[in-house]
């Protein structure tokens, strides 16, 4: 694979390079020189000693006293109930609302240094401007394709068209020209979200929503202009568009985001489209034989009262017996179906597991109390408009999600871009609980791992913080396990108060059995820190309930960024340790608890804990229990996401580009470090 950005001369078949002894010495010396150089650059750390108890009162930045200035959020005063029940109306926030302001800090000026640092190294984002929903993800002729809602003209939502990128491995992406622009009356106001379907004969159909010249939401068909082009650069819109308009009685603006189609046993294709009737979110179902003519099936696949408009509906089968993915058309024994929708009202993605009845075109949730829109969320942080696709290449189902910004517009305008895609995740049924999905970063993420540091059985007494010497701390993959003293778990007094990450005091709220976890993107003095942690509460009946949270209240000294706490209950089964995986990639932190039962994505914008000043710590702020932790932390390489080369020959061949990246476009320490590490790594391979 062309991961290496070091060029080499291809050798005749069968030969392996055999450097001479002298050459080995030269290489080792140059490696040492590079390391020495880096040590010199980074050696302003000073000594790092274990610090003291985290104060409970050193932050007031995130609280319910909003200094008399409100914003439009139904502030989450409702505690998060026992997972899986959450109230759809309890949040009602959008990404730029739900501000909790810092009382003590003045308005913080964003410098170019701080803003440039925020760009991620291995998450998909266009070179500039605004992005939102992932569209039409698909694996076709050897390439993974990602399309996305894009504004070619600015860092705000508007003038939406389809961006496009390809990858061989879901990680290293190449930007391609815009796939579709708003050039027809039926999508002139917006080329909105859609999904791809691959037919058994290999044909690719793309259905998408267009906002017409009168702002009516209609569904349109598009397909590749040249199906033999693996890069699918050019697209054709079906001349007879639109193929679907809002059904009678449905609002012109309440009909969007068609799903991937699935085959029925009658050999017809079936799709779902979200909508609403008054405050009840619903999904319509249509049958078609040709993707051009559709029959609206009677009733709806499903609906849930008081959930509002359902956007980005997704519908797919999961295996009850294994972790492999299933083709969207798959049905039969050993299968359950997931219905997912994005709630326009509260900007969260919810899913529910249930049974699909093909004949009478209904889907029934296993547990109506945790139905779509009122139950489990894919992610308890910023994660919206998500969409899965079946990856027939590796027989897995992969989930994409739009991660917006939670900073202020002034910063987006200054930095010239907004939004990321989350790290792609595999999604499968959790066969141990049977009642939730598991999400995990795709295995190709592991290919970004460079050097690692391992820590075994570190004991953290109550109220302790321990720095972890992992080297650079802005691009990390951390896998950590925690154990509590059994006696401490048993003897803790019962609590009657229901815990909720979002209405707690965050990592500063000390309980008997929590919080404990990691502090990422922290600086030496901990004036900025982003805790990702567990909090164990004891219920009235003596049972333990574990919560997984991310606390943004002290992530940044800036006061125009979101400071709320995210998280939810996470099932921990008998005999399981508390485990988390955390991906840190500049301004995005993604936490996965208990193998992906609960996940949290946050955007963080530190002003100090950036570049070489970022650190990682372990912490235990519980009062009544020691915690023992073992963890491994890897430096993560950049994915070097860049435009596909302009060379027509290379583009026509559809092969992966092999040109080298000359020099370094970036001037920042983080990338310099990773480039150097990659260089060393590549040289090591060569030897």
């Amino acid at each position: 694979m062309a991961d290496s950005n070091v060029s080499y001369n291809p050798l005749p078949d069968g030969e392996r390079p055999r450097p001479t002894r002298r050459r080995s010495i030269v290489l080792v010396l140059s490696g040492l020189l590079v390391v020495g150089f880096l040590v010199a650059l980074l050696s302003d750390n000073g000594s790092i000693a274990p610090t003291n108890v985290i104060d409970n009162d050193n932050n007031n930045v995130n609280d319910n006293a909003q200094n008399g200035l409100n914003d439009v959020s139904s502030s989450s005063k409702d505690p998060e109930r026992l997972r899986p029940f959450t109230s759809a109306s309890s949040a009602g926030v959008s990404e730029k609302s739900n501000r909790r302001f810092g009382a003590r800090t003045a308005s913080y000026p964003w410098t170019n240094n701080m803003l440039s640092w925020q760009r991620t190294a291995f998450h998909f984002q266009p070179q500039k401007n605004w992005m939102n929903d992932p569209n039409g993800p698909v694996f076709y002729k050897g390439w993974y394709h990602l399309f996305y809602q894009y504004n070619p003209n600015g860092a705000i939502w508007g003038d939406i068209v389809w961006g496009h990128a390809v990858s061989k491995d879901l990680i290293h992406w190449y930007h391609l020209p815009l796939a579709m622009v708003a050039d027809q009356w039926y999508d002139i106001m917006g080329v909105w979200t859609g999904s791809a379907t691959i037919l058994p004969d290999g044909k690719l159909m793309m259905l998408y929503t267009g906002s017409t010249n009168e702002s009516v939401q209609v569904q349109n068909l598009a397909y590749p202009a040249d199906p033999s082009d693996p890069l699918l650069i050019k697209w054709v819109k079906y001349p007879g568009n639109p193929v679907l308009v809002p059904p009678p009685g449905i609002g012109a603006k309440d009909f969007r985001d068609p799903t991937t189609a699935w085959l029925t046993s009658e050999g017809k294709w079936r799709i779902a489209i979200g909508s609403r009737i008054n405050r009840t979110g619903i999904t319509f179902v249509y049958d078609t034989k040709d993707f051009i003519n559709y029959e609206l099936l009677r009733g709806v696949l499903h609906g849930v009262p008081n959930t509002g408009m359902w956007e980005c509906v997704d519908f797919y089968p999961v295996s009850t017996t294994g972790e492999h993915g299933l083709d969207t058309s798959h049905n039969g024994p050993g299968v359950k179906h997931v219905v997912k929708a994005s709630m326009d009202d509260d900007r969260h993605d919810y899913y529910a597991i249930g049974t699909y009845h093909e004949k009478n075109v209904t889907w029934v949730p296993d547990n109506p109390e945790i139905d779509v829109g009122i139950g489990i969320r894919y992610d308890y942080g910023l994660f919206y408009a998500s969409k899965t696709f079946y990856d027939q290449n590796k027989k897995r189902r992969v989930l994409w999600g739009w991660i917006g910004e939670s900073d202020s517009e002034i910063a987006d305008v200054k930095k010239g871009w907004a939004s990321l895609q989350g790290i792609p995740r595999t999604v499968a049924l959790d066969t141990k609980t049977g009642s939730n999905l598991l999400q995990w970063p795709v295995e190709e993420v592991d290919s970004l791992r460079l050097t690692s540091k391992e820590f075994k059985k570190i004991e953290l007494k109550p109220g302790s913080v321990m720095p972890l010497d992992v080297g650079s701390a802005t691009q990390l993959d951390i896998v950590a396990e925690f154990e509590l003293d059994k006696a401490a778990l048993e003897k803790t007094a019962e609590s009657n108060v229901e815990f909720s990450c979002s209405s707690s005091e965050g990592s500063a709220e000390r309980g008997a059995l929590g919080p404990f976890g990691l502090l990422v993107l922290a600086d030496d003095s901990l004036s900025e820190q982003t805790p990702v942690y567990f909090y164990i509460a004891k219920g009235k009946d003596g049972s333990l309930k574990t919560y997984f949270c991310t606390d943004q209240s002290r992530s940044s000294e800036a006061n125009d960024v979101n400071k709320s706490k995210y998280g939810s209950f996470v099932p921990v089964l008998e005999g399981e340790k508390f485990s988390m995986r955390v991906l840190v990639d500049h301004s995005i932190v993604e936490g996965f608890a208990q193998g992906g039962r609960t996940t949290i994505t946050s955007r963080v914008y530190p002003t100090k804990a950036i570049y070489g000043a970022a650190r990682v710590f372990l912490f235990n702020n519980a009062t009544g229990a020691s915690v023992t932790s073992s963890l491994k932390a890897w430096q993560m390489n950049s994915a070097f996401i860049r435009p596909y080369p302009d060379d027509d020959d290379e583009r026509h061949s559809g092969t992966e580009p092999t040109y080298e990246v000359r020099g370094s476009k970036t001037k920042y320490l983080g990338n310099l470090l990773t480039s150097s590490l990659l260089f060393l790594n590549a040289r090591n391979n060569f030897l």
């Binding site: 009602g92 705000i156 906002s211 517009e409």
Partner: protein, 169 residues
């Protein structure tokens, strides 16, 4: 008798066709009731002649976005004057200029797009952000702001706008 028959249709006409101005009062009041600043909402809208003929919540929301834009523009001009008057406050005033600029080139266009093209949630975001920018401007003075009232006004009309658009979701 004949006179009454002659007059009756006119009486009916007057009874059944309310004066056009009265027709929109319920819409403005009804909409403003769902915002946290009812009085300001009503007076802001009524000060704009377009509110008389606004037919739905979307039209009302677009008027409010226009008011945000106008107020932000006026605030920018005021800030320029203050920079001359209070050279010691140059730094926070410059930050405020950037903030109101972001409202005008970022939040307002996004709100208008979202409302006219049919995805109003992005207008809620934009309006909320406009409130945040005004608030951040105010904080830059660490308590010694010469433009507190102005910032509060910008903040409040933005919140009003966000609340109104939220009812469309």
């Amino acid at each position: 008798m004949k006179a009454i028959l002659f007059v009756f249709p006119f009486v009916l006409a007057v009874a059944y066709f309310p004066i056009s101005q009265c027709q929109n009062l319920p819409l403005i009041e009804q909409t403003c009731k769902q915002t946290p600043y009812y009085g300001l909402c009503v007076t802001s809208l009524k000060s704009d002649p377009r509110s008389k003929t606004a037919g739905d919540v979307q039209a009302i929301a677009l008027i409010m976005v226009d008011i945000i834009k106008a107020k932000a523009g006026g605030s920018l001009q005021h800030i320029e004057k203050l920079k001359q008057k209070y050279p010691a406050l140059r730094v926070p005033l410059s930050a405020c200029k950037d903030r109101f600029n972001a409202i005008i080139i970022g939040d307002v266009p996004q709100a208008v797009e979202a409302l006219t093209k049919g995805d109003p949630k992005f207008a809620v975001d934009a309006a909320n952000d406009a409130a945040l920018e005004a608030d951040s401007c105010e904080r830059g003075f660490s308590g010694k702001s010469p433009i507190t009232q102005m910032n509060k006004l910008n903040h409040d009309i933005s919140i009003i706008t966000a609340s109104i658009v939220k009812t469309m979701l």
